[in-house]
Point group: C2
């Protein structure tokens, strides 16, 4: 069930956590990565989480039987074109990107015949970036969504599924469009809103801004954690899941206007009704052990 | 420096945490509470955190030299009227409410001569409610804002300040209007937005809603925690800090519309610029040890 050579294209939070988890579980004989910046390669090497760190993604992908794209999704088109010539027949090409339709669109046309292209997305992360922030337990108890194309080879899907299960995830298969819709509300909209409110605070007059930091324990600090996530990664997600995000944002804005009106007109019953209803979802999340 | 009798009007998360902390630090010879529901009184007694639990707030306040209102702010007008006749000259009357101008408006007129009315607000809490959810360490390292009126007795203010310091807080004095403005952005708006997005998810079609719970680790779950806070308390806060909340909400909505437009038109540079800027506030919060 192990892979001969696991190539991680990108070695940030997710890539480096995968390297650690794959090593800990003995899922690959050799683990290599590629990353553009020399400092990042040095860090990956000194952490001892990869056997080789390359600048050129094609050198990492050459001879690998599992290649995982672990960079911001905006880079996938170029990266997949760059590694396509060296991808071995029978190899699995997957990714960890937070959008899936755009990945099919950008990577799909570059995949050589005989290579199994099975997009994936682990629902796991922290607000920290870079290889030093990864840890082997990141995927424990978290979901990993795979979006295999209809004609995907069942054996290859099973191999990739087993890989994610071994690093601790529960695996589920989904259609890419449905994935993007679910993630728009569970992840993309929350991030957009967190970035917005922290931005609103940033624009306050200087004295008020320093007090926002001082008294952030009242709720604001939880948003700053989310709004500290990687800027390039999130820029790409919003650009690549535009329709689903705008749809959910439309619903959110309507609902916010409704509450705004209730506050302005002193309609406490409307506020109380919503604030009571939202507690049920929290209970559901606790029961689903995702809290 | 200790009080003879500490009366907690209301024994939820904050009241019960104060009872525990005051007992642990030996800040009062006797600690009593009042609360409407019999079941809550039984819980408070069985937890052993109060010496007496009364139904009638006036019985709790009688003979107390420190009375703290620890109920939703919407109850303060009636409660202060009810306890006013028994408040002893020289006693300190304070509260823990999340708005301060409304407290001055609702409680101020009921305060008898000779009683020191010094509103307060500990910036601490969790999403849990009820006496069983309190803990003595809740205020450790957190700020407590006092809003003494201009004519307040300095000795009484110093006594109340020492009380909060002994339970672990850093104390700062502020004007009530300024308090309400700062809290509108650091606490009230974040809660309103969290309630809204969780409400938006609640309204999704059934299948999508169950998936929202399942895949909430992508960011959504952090909002559900905030949106599980006490509904009555939060209804009162929004009604009582209407102007400041609507002002901050207006800024937020403008900023959200700006991002919405950037997403629609594919303006990645605008997204990236904001997402980079918001990281600085997170660093500030970590440096201020409020993360």
């Amino acid at each position: 069930m192990t892979f001969r050579r696991l190539a991680l294209i990108g070695i940030g939070l997710i890539g480096s956590s995968l390297a650690r988890a794959a090593r800990a579980q003995g899922l690959a004989e050799e683990i290599v990565c590629s990353t553009r910046r020399e400092a990042t390669r040095d860090t990956a090497r000194s952490l001892g989480i990869v056997d080789h760190a390359y600048e050129n993604p094609a050198e990492a992908a050459a001879g690998a039987d599992l290649v995982l794209l672990c960079t911001p999704v905006g880079t996938y088109a170029d990266l997949s074109a760059a590694i396509a010539p060296v991808l071995a027949p029978g190899a699995i090409l997957s990714d960890v990107g937070s959008v899936k339709q755009a990945v099919v669109r950008d990577v799909g046309p570059n995949v050589p015949d005989g290579v199994h292209f099975i997009p994936g997305h682990p629902i796991a992360g922290t607000e920290h970036s870079g290889p030093e922030s990864g840890f082997a337990e990141l995927f424990q108890g978290r979901w990993c969504i795979l979006t295999p194309p209809p004609a995907a080879d069942p054996a290859a899907v099973a191999r990739l599924r087993a890989f994610w299960e071994k690093v601790g995830s529960q695996v589920v298969e989904m259609d890419p469009a449905h994935h993007d819709k679910v993630l728009a509300i569970t992840s993309h909209l929350p991030h957009l809103i967190a970035y917005t409110i922290v931005g609103t605070a940033t624009d306050l007059e200087e004295t008020l801004r320093s007090e926002v930091i001082k008294y952030s324990a009242g709720g604001f600090r939880d948003f700053t954690r989310i709004a500290a996530s990687d800027p390039v990664m999130w820029r790409d997600i919003f650009l690549d899941n535009r329709e689903a995000v705008l749809e959910m944002l439309g619903r959110f804005s309507e609902d916010l206007a409704y509450l705004q009106r209730a506050i302005r007109w002193g309609e406490g019953d409307k506020l109380h009704e919503l604030f009571t209803r939202t507690r049920a979802i929290r209970r559901g999340i606790i029961e689903a052990k995702q809290a």
